[in-house]
């Protein structure tokens, strides 16, 4: 399976990148944007998706400072519509 | 005899003229194949062939008693005693940085590092010379921030200290920023290696990163084309740097040399495998067979021409005896670095490239390296036209001397560079005796107990005013910086950043500047051991100031006595040394006042300047002085202020009658301070002490106010 792991700073952690983006937006005329956070996305092919949480917790993130979310990147399986 | 078919004008898109293409066809007796055309177009570019500068560069003196390797190798090398050589070179990465400043500057550092370890030297210091438009421009601030971050990212990560540099802001660089990087390396003389391939039957081994489509038509084409509309479209071809891969490649290459496993070594830079292999073959008078199928690729489906010209970073090419290949591969594996045999040395004198069992290129090495036509310049001095617009005045005509001094200290060109140099690691490797802002030159301790000093300089506005004198001044200014730490120059490297040399006035600027550098080098006895030329720095709307950048390396006997620029002790006498006869031509104060660029610059009193250098150097090395600082941009007023701010102490000075505190003559005057007895026989102009700088009858400004102006100059923009 092709998986995407979205990593973002834990709530309440100093996120200077997010703040920098948030500060820059009004200057460009984009008002009304709040709560910006900058994380990263890791894309990987795994044979056993059940092991993904462990992969995330041991290497891809530092659980003290980061949260993660696993998203499948596979195209949705074709579904056959039945009348 | 085949002729240029009018329907096939691909050679023009690749930058070859019809005449050049015809010459290729004539030499080969046939049309070149696709891969051959790609290889030839790059090898015949300005960047690789120096076709518009080669004749002019012959004027530079290249020989001296300390020179171990001169121009033509990956870097010049001078002897620093104790069986050690110092390799150094400066190179431009201007166009890539204008397109993508972070990666452009980062890979500029990566490239110059490889030039240094390609000769077997461990890189020990990086310096950078940067030019941007005025910091009031958003684009210039973006370029500055990104270029500095890119240099920091790469230099810091590979563990090579960034010990110095310079930045100028001028509207003339708004469209064409300049990013020049200089690197120094240290090697036992016995470990130095040349790039010449040798020994038919020996194996050509590619080290380092995978080959991808990076920079296909990148540096070489970019470096030869005036930037125009649609720069964003060139972005995909910009190279991406990986400092981690470079660090491993560096350690691995030095280990291979230490184990005497390599016959020759060459870095892959502009024009990639084509240029590296051609130079190795040409240098050794041999041929090379390369098998594209063996080149490890990052993505599938690269055409052979792409493999041959890819500018993927962090790669080196070496020649290894067949029975040592296994050892090379094993040593590389330890450093997690790929080593792949991709061909062999032949006695054919030809560059033969195979792909999928087909011969895709079969060229005499000489056509790649030697046969590109060299063009004579047609220099014409522009008379009665001003090439550059006068800068806007930012200083009121009735500004007081104190206001002028504060304006100068806070101006973009003279303000503190702390915000920039704090992003660089200047101390890794534990050699750095003088850090940025501590002295006029960086000082690096040598294992022999002596030390190296290095500085980089080049004021394009002054060269624009008076190309010959301005370029000479850059050499003197560098020498003055070395003098202030107590060093004697050993050699220099230069990077000549100019506009389109096919324009007569640019040709004139280039030839005059080279003549100025040559004269200064001869007068000071400093040889040019290497360098780089970056031409066509023009955009539709403007051309850069002619900007020769000089990097100079010297040697001093006792690092503990290396000079510092700060005033140190209340009561010390201050002396002015040197034939200092400045004018306002091309000065910072003239810029702030909105004056037209115009020469002439002050006439260099060569012998008297040399005497002054000797006097200061001798006193520094005797440990007699508490400070030494050369008088540069902003004149003696700014130089005194800099000594005060650095030391956190004031001074009271009576300027010699008629001396304009803000007039400039670079590299010709020195400020030194120390106990009276140490300054016997010198022209004492004042004393250190108090908490203000007082120029009697001219101005009095608190040191705190000077410091605030100097510190705030760039901070308000970043």
């Amino acid at each position: 399976m092709r998986a995407r792991v979205l990593v973002k700073p834990k709530a309440g952690i100093l996120d200077p990148q997010g703040q920098a983006v948030q500060r820059a937006l009004p200057a460009l005329g984009f008002t009304g944007v709040t709560d910006v956070h900058v994380g990263r996305m890791i894309e990987l092919d795994v044979q056993d998706p059940a092991r993904l949480p462990e992969i995330c917790e041991r290497l891809l993130t530092n659980p003290l400072i980061e949260d993660y979310e696993i998203v499948s990147a596979d195209p949705p399986a074709p579904t056959t519509a039945s009348a | 005899m085949p002729t240029v078919s009018p329907s096939d004008q691909r050679h023009r898109q690749l930058g070859l003229t019809d005449g050049e293409y015809a010459l290729i066809v004539q030499q080969l007796g046939r049309h070149p194949r696709d891969t051959e055309l790609a290889m030839l177009s790059l090898m015949w570019s300005e960047h690789c062939a120096y076709k518009h500068s080669r004749t002019t560069l012959r004027r530079l003196p290249t020989e001296g008693p300390a020179v171990l390797m001169g121009p033509g190798e990956n870097a010049g090398v001078v002897d620093v005693g104790g069986g050690l050589g110092v390799a150094f070179k400066v190179e431009s990465h201007n166009h890539p940085s204008a397109v993508e400043p972070f990666q452009g500057a980062a890979t500029g550092v990566g490239g110059i590092l490889r030039d240094i370890f390609a000769v077997g030297a461990r890189p020990i210091a990086v310096l950078d010379s940067l030019r941007f438009g005025e910091p009031t421009s958003e684009r210039s601030r973006y370029l500055l921030e990104q270029a500095v971050a890119g240099i920091a990212h790469y230099g810091n990560s590979v563990g090579v200290p960034t010990v110095g540099g310079e930045i100028y802001f001028e509207a003339a660089y708004e469209q064409n920023c300049l990013v020049n990087a200089m690197c120094l390396g240290l090697a036992p003389i016995g470990r130095l290696i040349r790039s010449a391939a040798a020994g038919p039957g020996n194996v050509l081994v590619l080290l380092g990163a995978l080959t991808g489509r990076d920079g296909i038509g990148g540096a070489s084409v970019l470096a030869s084309a005036e930037l125009g509309e649609g720069d964003a479209a060139k972005r995909p071809s910009v190279q991406i740097g990986d400092p981690f891969a470079e660090k491993k490649l560096l350690e691995c290459s030095l280990e291979l040399l230490e184990s005497e496993l390599l016959i020759s070594l060459q870095d892959l830079g502009a024009a990639g495998l084509t240029s590296a292999a051609s130079e190795m073959a040409s240098g050794g008078g041999v041929g090379l067979d390369i098998d594209c199928d063996r080149v490890p690729l990052r993505e599938l489906g690269l055409a052979p021409f792409e493999i041959m010209v890819s500018e993927s970073q962090e790669r080196m090419l070496c020649v290894v005896a067949p029975d040592r290949v296994a050892e090379v591969v094993a040593a590389c594996e330890r450093w997690e670095t790929r080593a792949t045999p991709i061909g062999e040395v032949t006695d054919s004198g030809r560059m033969r490239v195979r792909h999928a069992a087909e011969l895709v290129a079969d060229l005499p090495v000489s056509i790649l390296v030697d046969d590109c036509p060299v063009y004579d310049l047609a220099p014409t001095e522009p008379v009665g036209v001003s090439l550059y617009p006068a800068p806007p005045a930012t200083l009121a005509p009735d500004a007081s001397a104190a206001e002028t001094l504060l304006a100068l200290l806070g101006s973009a060109n003279l303000a503190s560079r702390r915000l920039v140099y704090e992003q660089y690691d200047p101390i890794v490797q534990s050699r750095t005796v003088r850090r940025p802002d501590e002295a006029d030159a960086a000082v690096l301790a040598l294992p022999t107990g002596e030390a190296l000093a290095v500085a980089i300089d080049g004021n394009g506005r002054r060269v624009a005013c008076d190309p010959r004198a301005g370029a000479a001044e850059a050499v003197y200014e560098c020498a003055a910086n070395l003098t202030c730490v107590g060093a004697t120059p050993l050699g220099l490297t230069n990077c000549l950043n100019f506009g389109n040399p096919e324009k007569p006035h640019v040709a004139w600027q280039l030839t005059e500047a080279v003549e100025g550098i040559a004269q200064a080098c001869r007068a000071l006895g400093v040889p040019v051991v290497g360098g780089n030329v970056s031409l066509y720095n023009e955009a539709p709307t403007d051309a850069i100031y002619p900007t020769p950048v000089i990097g100079m390396v010297g040697r001093l006997p006792d690092p503990a006595r290396a000079g510092r620029l700060r005033f140190a002790r209340a009561g010390d006498a201050i002396a002015l040394v040197g034939p200092f006869a400045p004018t306002r031509a091309g000065s910072e104060v003239a810029k702030l006042s909105g004056h037209e660029l115009a020469g002439p610059l002050p006439i260099m009193q060569t012998a008297a300047v040399r005497d002054a250098q000797d006097t200061v150097r001798t006193m520094v090395n005797a440990g007699a002085l508490h400070n030494a600082h050369d008088i540069a941009e902003g004149g003696i007023g700014v130089a005194l202020a800099e000594c005060c701010v650095a030391g956190g102490i004031g001074a009271r000075v009576a300027l010699p009658a008629g001396l304009d505190p803000f007039a400039e003559a670079l590299g010709q005057g020195f400020l030194v301070s120390g106990p009276d007895v140490a300054l016997t026989g010198l022209a004492i102009i004042g004393r250190v002490g108090g908490d203000a700088l007082e120029l009697e009858g001219v101005l009095t400004v608190a040191v705190a106010e000077l410091a605030a102006a100097r510190d705030g100059g760039l901070a308000r923009f970043l």
Binding site: N62 | A149, A152, N156, S157, V158, K247, E422, D425, Q429
Partner: protein, 225 residues
């Protein structure tokens, strides 16, 4: 006594650390891929950009074979000093509490800073005079110390914060100006400043020597027991 300084691919300050250690004892370089500490009395995890600092600073180096031995050595009470990237590696390895985030201004920072010795009750700071600040350089991109509130409280209660940036000298936004912390057993210590770059008057201050002298004295005491 003998120090071992680890070399990962991407380490930059390992030779600097070795030279500093050699001012107070013997020191050799330990290769990341070897599961062997060669009988050293103390381990230094040096500065640099191990594995390019890719993913997160220190995240990959912690899985190097030699780190298995370092963890074992630490569990047995051996002294482990992590400097800069070494501090990051030890935090990632769970040998030290907390984590290091990118500097608050998102820029690399080099600066000579003043440090307050909060506690000289450790094998790493015992030779420091309590009231005398240390002048030592920092140089890093990821040096903002972070620990969740309850952990932070615990660190202070157990006197695990050994060094703080002096007022006005915090270069990176670290919580409570924390510059260096030790583990609960006080035998593993990490700090962002570079004491190995403050051991020679020719190239800077000599205030970093106290850290290496402390380690030497602590090892000598243990050997004497």
């Amino acid at each position: 006594m003998k120090f071992g300084v680890i070399r990962f691919p991407g380490s930059c300050d390992e030779v600097d650390a070795q030279l500093a250690c050699q001012r107070v004892g013997e020191a050799e370089i330990l290769w990341h891929a070897d599961r062997d500490l060669r009988g050293v009395d103390a381990v230094v995890v040096p500065g640099g950009f191990s594995y390019g600092d890719y993913l997160r600073a220190g995240a990959i180096a912690r899985f190097a074979p030699v780190m298995v031995e370092v963890a074992e050595f630490a569990r047995a009470g051996g002294l482990v000093l992590g400097i800069c990237n070494g501090f990051q590696v030890l935090c990632e390895a769970g040998l030290l509490p907390g984590a290091l985030l990118d500097n608050a201004n998102l820029r690399f920072v080099f600066r000579q800073v003043s440090l307050v010795v909060v506690s000289s009750d450790s094998p790493f700071t015992r030779a420091c005079e309590p009231d005398r600040p240390l002048s030592i350089p920092v140089k890093h991109m990821t040096g903002c110390y972070y620990a969740p509130p309850e952990l932070l409280r615990g660190l202070q209660e157990r006197d695990q914060v050994l060094l703080r940036y002096a007022p006005g000298h915090n270069p990176n936004g670290s919580l409570r100006d924390i510059a260096g912390v030790c583990n609960a057993a006080r035998n593993v210590f990490g700090l962002m400043p570079h004491p190995e770059h403050a051991v020679d008057p020719l190239t800077g201050s000599i205030d970093g020597l106290a850290i290496f002298q402390s380690i030497r004295a602590a090892v000598a005491d243990r050997l004497a027991v």
